[in-house]
Symmetry: C2
Subunit: 334 residues, 2 copies
Amino acid sequence: MAGSVNRRWVVKQRPQGLLRPGDLALVEGAVPEPADGEFVVRVTHLAFDPAQLYGISFDSYRPAIPIGDVVDSFAAGEVVQSRNARFPVGMKVQGSFGWQDYCLVADSSEVTALRSESPVKALNVLGLTGLTAYFGMTEIARPGKGDIVVVSGAAGATGSIAGQIAKIAGARVIGIAGGPEKCRWVTEVAGFDACIDYKAQDIGERLAALAPDGVNIVFENVGGAVLDASLAHLAIGARIALCGGISSYVPSEGAPPAGIQNYMQLGLRRASMTGFLVFDYADRFEDAFATLGRWLDDGTIVSVEDVQQGLEQAPETLNRIYRGQNFGKQLLAL
Amino acid sequence: MAGSVNRRWVVKQRPQGLLRPGDLALVEGAVPEPADGEFVVRVTHLAFDPAQLYGISFDSYRPAIPIGDVVDSFAAGEVVQSRNARFPVGMKVQGSFGWQDYCLVADSSEVTALRSESPVKALNVLGLTGLTAYFGMTEIARPGKGDIVVVSGAAGATGSIAGQIAKIAGARVIGIAGGPEKCRWVTEVAGFDACIDYKAQDIGERLAALAPDGVNIVFENVGGAVLDASLAHLAIGARIALCGGISSYVPSEGAPPAGIQNYMQLGLRRASMTGFLVFDYADRFEDAFATLGRWLDDGTIVSVEDVQQGLEQAPETLNRIYRGQNFGKQLLAL
C-alpha cells in the first residue's frame, strides 16, 4: 500500500493498573510490503479481552509484549495486498493482527477466513470468547439437567455465552451482572432464569433466596467479592470453573488485588475450583466452532457486542472492560 | 461408678475467636449408670483437631454443639462399667467420648477397640488424623513419582503424616513449619526433603529456590498467606488438596479472616483446588487403618504427639492449635 500510513499502538512502558497516557504510543509508519508468501491485512475490527492487560503489563502464561512492539490483539480484516495464493486480495480474515491499521502476515498458520459474514459475531461467539465459554462450561463446569449454575459477568462476552450453554445442558442458570439494563438483557434476551444486580442487591441474600439448597456450579468471571458470595452458597460437591477474575486484574491505587476469604468453604462443601486455558483444547477448536456456529445460526444462542469507534480509542476501549462499562463483547471498529 | 464425680466441659456461649473463660463451663455431676446395652468409659486421652472450634462456635458441615451440651471430641478410654457384652469392663476403646471424665455410651456403633497399644498413636495415626492425611493425599492430591509436593503445617498432626505418605508415593516433599525445632524434626525424623521455616524465611523465595519449575501438588493445612505463597509457585496442572486452613479458623479481633489473593494463578496454571471431608470415605476406613497400622509398625512412618495434662486444661489445649504451639498431634491426658 505505497503511500498509505500505518498507525500502530506500541508498548512504551509497563502500565501500573489501567492504561494511562504514556504507557502506549500511537506511532505512524509505512505500510509494509509483503515478501513472497506474505500478505497484508487491513484491520477492520479489534477484539478486546480481560487477559490483554496482562500481556501489556507483565509475564504471565505467556511473556509480556516486548517494549516497542505493537499491542497484540485478535482482529478481523481484509487482505489488501498478497503474495500468498491461499489469502487473495479481498478475502475477509480473522487472526491476531494487533492494534494497527495494517498487519503484515508472514506466518499464516493462525489466520483463517472470517467465520461469519458478521465480523462482530466472528470475533465474539466464533472467536476466543465463544471457545472459552464452550470449553470452560463443557469441560470444567460440566452442568447437568437440574443443576443450579451461577455465572458472574453474565452480561459480559464470555459469561453471556457460557450461561446459554448451561441452559442448553438443562441447568437452571442465575446470572450476576451490574445494573438493571444488563440484568434485563440477561433474563429477557439471553434467557437466564434469573439475574442478580450486584450494584443494587446483596448477592448472598439473593443466592440464598434463589438457591436455598446451594449452588452446584459456578462459572466465575469476576472474582473477589463476587466469587466470595458464591463460595458462601455452594452445595455439596460443587464445582467452580475459574474462567476469569476481572476484579483482580487491575490493582487499585496501592491496594492489593481483591482477594477471597471464603475459600475454606471448598473444604466444608467438598467442592473444587479449577482454572483452565482455552488453548489447551486447540485440537478441538474446529469442532467447537462448528457447534457454536450452528447454535448462533439457529438462534439457540444470542450474543451482544459493544462496538467503539476509531483506532485512537484502543487504550480507552480496553480500560472499559475493567470498569465494567462494556455490555457484551468489547470491540472496536477501525 | 457410684460415688465418683464426672466433670464435663459444656458449652455456655458461642466463642468469638479463641476460647475464653465464660465460653465453656466445667460442671460436676454423678457418673451415669448404664442401662441394658450401655456401658461407661473412663476417658484417659482427648484428641484435639482444628475443626473442633467450628463445632463449638457455629453450624458448619455439622450443626454446632447445642448450648449446655458437653464438648464433642474423639478420645481414648477404658470401659469401667458395662451392660454390653461386646464392651466388657477393662476393654480399651476409642470413640467420640467428649471432654469429660466419664462417658455413658448408649450407641456403640462408632466405638472400637483401641487400634494400638499406645493410646496416643491410636488417636493420631490410627484415628481421624491419619485417615485425613491418608485420603487427602491418596484421593485428592495423588502425588506420583517425581512430583514436587508442598505440605504446610508440616510439623502438625495431619501434615506430618501426609508428607510421609507422599514420600512413600515417590514424591519430593517440601514442608512448611514454624521454627527451627519443628523444621529439624520434619526433615531429620519425618524424612521430608526440605522444610521452610515460615517464621524466619520468605516462603516464596524458598519455593522459587527449591522448586524452580513450580510445585505439582500442595497439601494445604494453613491457608491465608502460606497458601498464597504456594499459589504463586504452581506448575502447570498443579493440584491443591485443601485439607485445612488453620490461619482462617479464628478471626482475629474484628479483622476478617485471612484471605488469599493469588487464586487467579489457578487459571494461569490450569490448576485446581479441591476440598474434601474424610467422612466421605467411611466405607474404606478399615482398609486405611490396616495400611496405616502396617506403616506405623514397620517404621515407614513416624508420628509425634504433644500431650498436655488434666481435663481442666482442655480449653487452653484446644487454643494451642490455633496459636501454632502444638508440635505434632495435640492430645490431653486425663
